[in-house]
Amino acid sequence: MSVAIYLIPVALFMGAVGLAAFIWSLKSGQYEDLKGAAARILIDDED
């Protein structure tokens, strides 16, 4: 059981990283133009 002392914080930390990543991607506007994002990968870089 004593291993739970380590595993619980590790599990919660990993969950929190996922949550933070989602909130970051939402706030940085990555879901604002899904159609455009899908189309833009087809555009060659200009330089």
């Binding site: 059981m1 739970a4 619980i8 599990a11 919660l12 969950g15 929190a16 996922g18 949550l19 989602f22 909130i23 939402l26 706030k27 604002e32 133009d33 899904l34 159609k35 455009g36 189309a39 833009r40 087809l42 555009i43 200009e46």
Partner: protein
């Protein structure tokens, strides 16, 4: 103004051919809507119409970025907004509109004031809360499952640890995620009403506090998992509902913002300045170029031209107007530049009056009660009574029963409260909260793929109830624009089209459309109300009315509709005939409505002969002609008074108020902005069949909603007694809640089209 390099891409409009290029884009000057950014640059947002693919992004962004001084530009393909910023003074903002226009797209400036709220802050906030609730739910499960599965094996110390860690996650997460419910419940209670959020808030708060008490006193039952799961499911329902409303609202706001196109004001110093529409005052002199929409009601001061008033009256033939004639806002100047004097401000003009009628209709509609609200108004008192009775019952019943000789344990205050909380949690309206939005979002997505934009969730509810169809003629039953009919010589058509490309006249446009892509003739002179003149291959060519182009040709009277004559050099004059054709499936759609037990009526502002002909061709028995916008509203009110629930389909400004007043309404995608804003559904393309399909989907969706609500009721009928009699454990609550939510979601998904995926 700086010279703009010609774009290299030769294809006009979308290079993938996903949409037609804009024909003769309106070139409104966007300078009143330029904003000064914090970093000192000027920026502008434009709405670009006709961009569909990666090629469009590349073309538009490339061309705008190539303009001198432009530092940043980005096209959002989803919303169609183009953002551009540049060093102040480096270029005239009009150059951006012209550049995009030259590529074959329409770029319209819009008033950032009117579309300020279009950034979906609430939706983003709900998503974050949903993510937090989901995180809490999943991580608390990690500690709940060992407790459930370790009954009898797990020591009290380990269980206490699990509960404490759960509490550590659940308390902050739930208090954060439940804010929208708390706020809404508080607002409702302040008005002495109880909405669905009151039992939700009460359930969450009671569940959290009793669980903390249990945890602290080493008890076996903690509802941290239940509380966070409840919030997770409810937030999904809330988010779906919000998405539906937001999409409707932002579509309407975009349209409003677009009405704020600019006017060209001729100031006393002789300079023409672009001003925002709201800044036009009565008495201002305005310059009106061909293709411009009349911004405010006014009188022509100089010049003569023809006006397309189709959106105001439904009349298809252009009306001539000269100096001294009054022209209403919304009409389109077709042939010659004019100077007009504004007689009314924008807020009092014809268009604004119609906008007020629309608003009145929408307010009346908002008072109608949605199915979900009805369910909630039944649900709330029942749940509160049940929870209260459970609490009182468990306090009072055991001593009473013991007095009668039954052997029953006294649970005390704590046990009674625990059972009451279990009632509140297990009857939580998770399934109820998902039942309606889940169905509506699936139905909306299905219709969207068929080119029908549903602008609000309750529009589907109202569409399912429709039992009568009122159609407008011009632009709704018909395509709303003249089309070339009969056989013509291809070479002559090509030559005539080269002249016609110089004009905004609807007949000239129809000719260009029939001829396909080609080059415009050089130095075309337009005689207003007469026709076009140019020199083709050394010989004079004229295109226009018979008296102008081919006075020697006799009238055989074989065709009653509009016509154009073309004469090139000494060749024999050629006649082009036009008709406003019915939509290709108009008769089929009318028959389809009939087959569903729905009567169809035609209401039009056009002449009786034209209306009768269209009615006969489409198979409509009931028709009325020369109907004013007020008459249309009166007719709809009469129908409503007779107990009918009319579906109004119309496109013109003259229909906009009727669209808002009808029980439910639809407008074609080519309709004027105000009509699209007033309508519940907007359908794309040349066919009416999407509306028939929308009706079918709406009726199916209504069945799914009723099934879902019925299932929720059944679930509560079974679950509530179990909770009332104290058999519910946190495990049973979590299982029942998640499975009932899953069932209603799966039932909603049955609405999806089979065999089609994208």
């Amino acid at each position: 103004m700086a010279a703009v390099p010609a774009p290299l891409n030769t294809q006009h409009g979308c290079p993938s051919g996903l949409g037609p290029p804009a024909d003769g884009p309106r070139l409104a000057d966007p300078s009143p809507f330029v904003r000064r950014e914090k970093d000192g640059r000027d920026s502008l947002e434009l709405l670009v119409k006709g961009a569909h693919c990666a090629g469009c992004i590349r073309k538009i962004e490339g061309a705008v970025r190539a303009l001198p001084g432009v530092e940043n530009t980005r096209l959002n393909l989803t919303t169609g907004r183009l953002f551009a910023s540049w060093r102040p003074g480096a270029l005239a903002p009009r150059a951006i509109v012209e550049t995009v226009g030259r590529l074959g797209y329409e770029a319209l400036p819009f008033d950032p004031e009117a579309s300020r709220h279009s950034k979906d802050e609430t939706g983003r906030d709900l998503l974050i809360r949903l993510a937090v609730a989901g995180f809490a739910m999943m991580n608390i499960m990690m500690f709940s499952v060992p407790v459930w599965s370790g009954v009898g094996e797990m020591g009290e110390g380990a269980r206490g640890l699990m509960h404490w860690v759960s509490a550590l996650i659940a308390l902050p997460a739930c208090l954060y995620a439940a804010q929208p419910f708390f706020r809404s419940a508080a607002a409702a209670l302040k008005q002495r009403r109880a909405n669905m959020d009151v039992p939700i808030s009460l359930g969450v708060i009671l569940a959290l506090s009793i669980s903390v008490y249990e945890t602290a006193s080493g008890g076996p039952h903690a509802y941290f998992d239940g509380a966070s799961m409840l919030l997770f499911f409810l937030l999904i329902g809330r988010y779906l509902d919000h998405r539906l409303r937001h999409e409707a609202r932002s579509a309407a706001q975009d349209l409003l913002a677009l009405q704020a196109v600019t006017a060209q004001r001729l100031d006393p110093d002789g300079v023409v300045r672009a001003v925002a529409l709201r800044d036009v005052a009565p008495g201002d002199r305005l310059h009106l170029a061909p293709g411009d929409r009349v911004p405010v009601d006014g009188v022509i001061e100089q010049g003569a031209s023809e006006f397309d008033k189709a959106i105001l009256t439904g009349e298809t033939a252009p009306a001539p107007a000269g100096a001294g004639d009054a022209i209403p806002a919304g009409a389109v100047n077709l042939t010659r530049p004019l100077i007009m004097r504004a007689t009314r401000a924008a807020a009092e003009s014809t268009v604004a009056e119609l906008a007020r009628l629309i608003e009145a209709g929408e307010q009346a509609r908002a008072r109608r009660m949605r199915i979900a609200d009805k369910a909630a108004s039944l649900y709330v008192p029942v749940v509160h009574t049940l929870a209260a009775l459970t609490f009182i019952g468990w306090l009072a019943a055991p001593p009473l029963l013991r007095a009668w000789g039954y052997d029953i344990a006294d649970l005390g205050l704590r046990g009674a409260l625990l059972n009451a909380v279990a009632v509140l949690i297990i009857t939580c309206p998770c399934a109820l909260g998902l039942a309606v939005p889940a169905v509506q979002i699936v139905a909306t997505a299905r219709l969207f793929r068929r080119g029908v934009l549903v602008k609000s969730g309750d529009a589907l509810e109202r569409l399912a109830q429709a039992d009568y169809v009122v159609l407008d003629k011009t632009g709704t039953l018909t395509l709303g624009r003249p089309a070339l009919v009969g056989a013509v010589d291809a070479a002559a058509l090509r030559e005539a089209a080269s002249l016609a490309r110089a004009s905004h006249h609807p007949l000239a446009r129809a000719l260009v459309e029939a001829a396909g892509p080609g080059r415009p003739a050089a130095e075309v002179i337009e005689h207003p109300g007469q026709g076009l003149e140019a020199s083709l291959a050394g010989a004079p060519a004229r295109l226009g009315r018979r008296a102008f182009a081919a006075p020697e040709a006799g009238d055989d009277g074989a065709h009653a509709g509009p016509e154009l004559w073309f004469k090139h050099g000494e060749a024999a004059p050629i006649r082009f005939r036009f008709e406003d054709k019915l939509r290709p499936d108009a008769a089929a759609a009318v028959a389809a409505f009939r087959a569903r037990g729905i009567d169809v009526e035609l209401l039009s502002g056009d002449r009786p002969e034209a209306v009768e002909a269209a009615a006969r061709a489409a198979g409509i028995a009931t028709w009325r002609a020369s109907v004013s916008p007020q008459d249309k509203i009166a007719r709809l009110a009469a129908l409503a008074a007779a107990g009918r629930r009319p579906l109004m389909i119309g496109d013109g400004l003259n229909d906009a108020a009727a669209l808002a007043a009808a029980h439910v309404s639809a407008a074609p995608g080519a309709a004027i902005g105000a009509s699209q804003a007033a309508a519940d559904l907007v359908f794309q393309g040349e066919r009416l069949s999407p509306i028939v399909e929308a009706l079918d989907v709406a009726r199916k969706a209504e069945r799914r909603v009723i099934e879902n609500l019925g299932f929720s009721a059944l679930y509560n009928l079974i679950a509530a007694p179990i909770a009332i009699f104290g058999f519910v454990t946190p495990f049973i609550a979590a299982f029942a809640m998640s499975s009932s939510s899953l069932v209603v979601t799966l039932n909603a998904l049955r609405l999806r089209e089979k065999g089609r995926s994208q």
